[in-house]
Symmetry: C2
Subunit: 389 residues, 2 copies
Amino acid sequence: MQTGNGKEYKMIYLDNAATTLKKPMQVGEAMLNALQTMGNSSRGMHKGSMDAAHAIYGARVKLASFFHCPRPDHVVFTSNITESLNIALYGLLKSGDHVIATDLEHNSVLRPLYLLQKERGVMVDFVPADRSGLINYADFERLMRPNTKLAVCTHASNLTGNVVDIKKVSSIVHAHGALLIVDAAQTAGTWPVDMQEMGADVLCFTGHKGLMGPQGTGGLCIRKGVEIAPLIVGGTGVQTYSTSQPEQYPTRLEAGTLNGHGIAGLSAAIDCLNEIGVETIQTKEIMLTKRFYNGVRNIPGVTVYGDFSGEHLGIVLMNIRDYDSGEVSDLLSEEYGIATRAGAHCAPRLHEALGTKEQGAVRFSFSWFTTEEEIDTAIEAVKRIAEEE
Amino acid sequence: MQTGNGKEYKMIYLDNAATTLKKPMQVGEAMLNALQTMGNSSRGMHKGSMDAAHAIYGARVKLASFFHCPRPDHVVFTSNITESLNIALYGLLKSGDHVIATDLEHNSVLRPLYLLQKERGVMVDFVPADRSGLINYADFERLMRPNTKLAVCTHASNLTGNVVDIKKVSSIVHAHGALLIVDAAQTAGTWPVDMQEMGADVLCFTGHKGLMGPQGTGGLCIRKGVEIAPLIVGGTGVQTYSTSQPEQYPTRLEAGTLNGHGIAGLSAAIDCLNEIGVETIQTKEIMLTKRFYNGVRNIPGVTVYGDFSGEHLGIVLMNIRDYDSGEVSDLLSEEYGIATRAGAHCAPRLHEALGTKEQGAVRFSFSWFTTEEEIDTAIEAVKRIAEEE
């Protein structure tokens, strides 16, 4: 697979956990083709509209297969995973419900929960993370209450890159008759994600990170029988005379015109991922991560966060001495042409657990397009910054 | 301006009120460029992230100027106008509030209102439409109550194409201290839209119709001082440690990664519109509409809906005899290669007013790229279908 990046791009892009900048060439081609041929899906019976409907349905089928969602019509498109998580949490939690989250969660989970606490009296408990950013699965058991409606858990931390054993979580959650929402923001496309095998009742994903699709795409895969009330209602092109949103998925959660052009790009990205194989991507990212971790871990003054003994994504979080993480990231960008992300990363509880609230931390994150040479250049840059004073 | 549609596209596309299929060439080019260079806006300080932030801010500036929104940071991006309208209605209406809407409104306004009625006890009144699809402005005055929080009104009907005099509406609404939300789905890009001059407090727009941008884009322009509570909350890249969504616009209403690639396309589309001039587009659409209307109005068996004495967009709604509108639209598509939309059009109250609930209606809608030859072919097709029996 070639990257669509035709220009000689000089930046070493190691901020793939924020968004993958290099995309397969086919993604742009598919978007351009869609832009030239797509009408409005479900809003007519002519070729333009039908082409859009077929392309979008085709993307549902591919995503259902990719994530092992039993029904393609239970794949719902959104504009990003934040919308997916808001839809799932608002659409499932009612007044008096109890929910279990973890310290690993992103603000896309935390802020809806805090608001639901305030507005609907939903009760929230958090599985704590230790100073390595790990959770103890027994805490899910400990926090269960009779009114626990659901647990929500990330598949992997966007800070440390540590992967959570969702199967363990779901077995506890399901034993208590509760549901499990999984945030696959970091794992979709970089790690095998089988929602049935892991026991996710709702799987939320985004298109522009590991899936290497365009921004403006994302969605949820819903297990049959899970009833999520819509967050956004409006025109659907069907059942015009009904005063409420149609009941059936995916229409129930998809009001207004879908991002057909973006979905066409995402669909092409899935084809590319299938061609390479997610396991191959995973193997490469693990290799790159090990190479980087082994290169930086013993540099005097470097602190690496998280646990490297278990399953670990293509993310390495670090600080250099007591340097402000923003300044280190700026140096990396300006002096070495290396793009990373610094500061806080929308995961406030985990920063507190790791003890990086004040300093923030520098995150290096890799993708299928990252090369070993880039890793080595990044190691060298860290070394030099750590040697300066 | 050239259309990006490189292929010999044989369909005569007259479904532009659903989505414009032909886009300026620059839109696709801008999206492709963004796909190759954009990081995640506001999630880093490296070139990829800063490029994204600059491109998105640039689009805000252009849209603010285009719609005469006083502040670029009060231009909020969404994935479509349905989301914009949901945000505005949910974010402004509280329990006990009264709202005035009209029979012209789309389900993207009606369904949120019906749900707010049910869930929050919001009270809703409708300005009725007559059999020509016209409203009486005095009805806004008549329906005002002391607890009227706002009125919501379309700038032009997506069914009849009749343009509403928003200035008249706002003067009544504002005299009572209420707010006005304007749905500019059909007018943005095809009609001059000056939110200050028309007196809109919130202007909702979509990117993929008259603005000729990609699907997956839209937004709201908010007058300073109008406080809309967020519908979706989550990560914003700023104020990570705040438990609630940041207060300032646009971040308040923009959680999660924006559709940077789509916004880049929309931004290029605005440049094209500015180059042509919206008044030039308006003049052309009026000319095309008159040509089509004059060509079909006297064909025996043809009923045209709406009023053609006042301001009128590039939309003509009709039926042929008592033929099912869906069958007529299919015939147009299959026999004549003309794309239209039939059936109900997500505007149920207006269908009832026009008396087209059972039959639906066939909508022909034009764009900047529609030619006089296409109009003449469409007239001829209507004539032939009306002559058959």
